[in-house]
Symmetry: C2
Subunit: 249 residues, 2 copies
DNA sequence: TCCAAAGCAAGAGCACTGCTCTCATTTCGG
DNA sequence: CCGAAATGAGAGCAGTGCTCTTGCTTTGGA
């Protein structure tokens, strides 16, 4: 993480054999770590095992990641980015095919919403241990450094963008707020999207958390023996979430 | 866990000094383990440290819990029970004070729902690491044994009971199901509560997961810098969940 | 061009972990 | 009362994260 580059900022595009080698080794370490993560989960990720697999001695690995937690943080950022990219790609693809399709099947905000939710679910099912890393219980006493914030925000920003499109097209309707949350709702809206109504933004934050509740329950096996056709159930629930944030079309 | 009692089932109420001592030691181990769990989280829970704190040698501890995972499983069951009890007590207390109160403030199903949700949230905030143990990412490769099922179901059963009361009082209304989930909804209802309409039971399962999404996001710090007045926000969201399962009064 | 400085790999070592095995002691039941 | 079962203690194995020292290699500036 600490990119303490001794070379001045104006380094050439060809940045020296050493720096290139460093990047390659760093990438190799992350790749192998991701492999072990996917295989056995975060708790069994071992620096020594990673080093062993890469044919290097364990102490050498500390030149690249000063601690196990730093390696995990790097993997967390990558996971957030991977999830965000998956959601954005699914949305873009849906909009592309939608515009070329029939009139009655266009990419309405509500359908975009469900599409993004489904993309999140699909990514989580494909990468359960990485999902656990970012949305499961955090490592004990570990609070994610600020570095993770941009990557972590991608899905949220995408959901806000969908709501914004709907709002501009008058496609969002929600009952007024009760007095108890009025102030907090104003705060939330002012922070995240001042151009959108507070009741919508508050519902968005709640729906955001609820989405990860749904996905988490499925990924972590809480739906075992309860829900069978999980895809159908999820689509139904995601549609309910869309209604919950006021998406009516 | 393996209660391989050599004493016949008809053992006396005074069940021997040895058996009593065993129970006490077992309880002491769990207590100390819970202490360490609350202090440092599940990943840092160490059998040796527990034994050390109890003044016994680590190998002796294996006479009581054959492995670290078994100790964790015992803690998981206790946590589920503690959470379930907290929810049930909150509900019972609310109904008790409600019946004695004014007419317009009675314990309607919707208000019972919110009360139970708040109890779950409160318990989770008081026992974050135990919450992480049961609703965070499961221990890698670890699937909860069937032993945990009854304890884990308590909150769910309570929510079903609330819906049933509402349904009998005609206090539940929900739009019809879309064809896509019809079959799965029928299955879910048949499994969990055949006397309640499928659309209600399906919404209940979704709301159940969504509730833990809301609680998890708060406990795990995902609401940092996003939601300030979390109690007000949660009450608002829980009320939304109540509407989502069709509780109208 | 040369050399000091920085980067790097390797190995040894510390303190810790879960878990197993053996051996002595205590306790209980037939 | 005595054998069997339960329990505790200790040593030991394999593994972990992490640190420190020791040399070697690359690099960038004088």
């Amino acid at each position: 993480m600490t990119t303490s580059r001794s070379t001045p900022p104006g380094a050439r595009a060809t940045q020296g054999a050493r720096a290139r080698a460093r990047q390659e080794v760093t990438a190799a370490i992350k790749d192998e770590a991701r492999r072990q993560l996917a295989a056995d989960g975060a708790a069994k990720l071992s620096l020594r095992a990673v080093a062993r697999e890469l044919g290097m001695v364990s102490s050498a690995l500390y030149r690249y990641f000063p601690s196990r937690d730093d390696l995990l943080t790097a993997l967390i950022i990558d996971a957030y980015d991977s999830l965000g990219a998956a959601a954005e790609e699914a949305d873009a693809a849906f909009r592309a095919i939608g515009e070329a399709g029939e009139a009655g099947e266009g990419p309405t905000p509500a359908r975009r919403w469900v599409t993004v939710c489904q993309a999140v679910r699909a990514w989580a099912l494909e990468h359960p241990h990485e999902y656990a890393l970012i949305y499961g219980s955090p490592v004990p006493g570990y609070t994610a450094p600020a570095t993770t914030v941009p990557a972590a925000s991608r899905v949220g920003l995408l959901l806000i963008a969908i709501l914004r499109e709907a709002y501009e097209g008058k496609g969002v309707a929600l009952p007024p707020l009760t007095p108890g949350v009025r102030a907090e709702a104003d705060r939330i809206a002012a922070d995240l999207a001042p151009d959108l109504p507070p009741e919508v933004m508050t519902a968005l934050v709640a729906a955001w958390a609820q989405l990860y509740g749904l996905v988490g329950f499925e990924v972590f096996g809480q739906f075992n023996k309860v829900v069978e056709d999980r895809a159908a159930f999820f689509t139904h629930a995601a549609t309910g979430l869309a209604h919950g944030v006021g998406l009516v079309k």
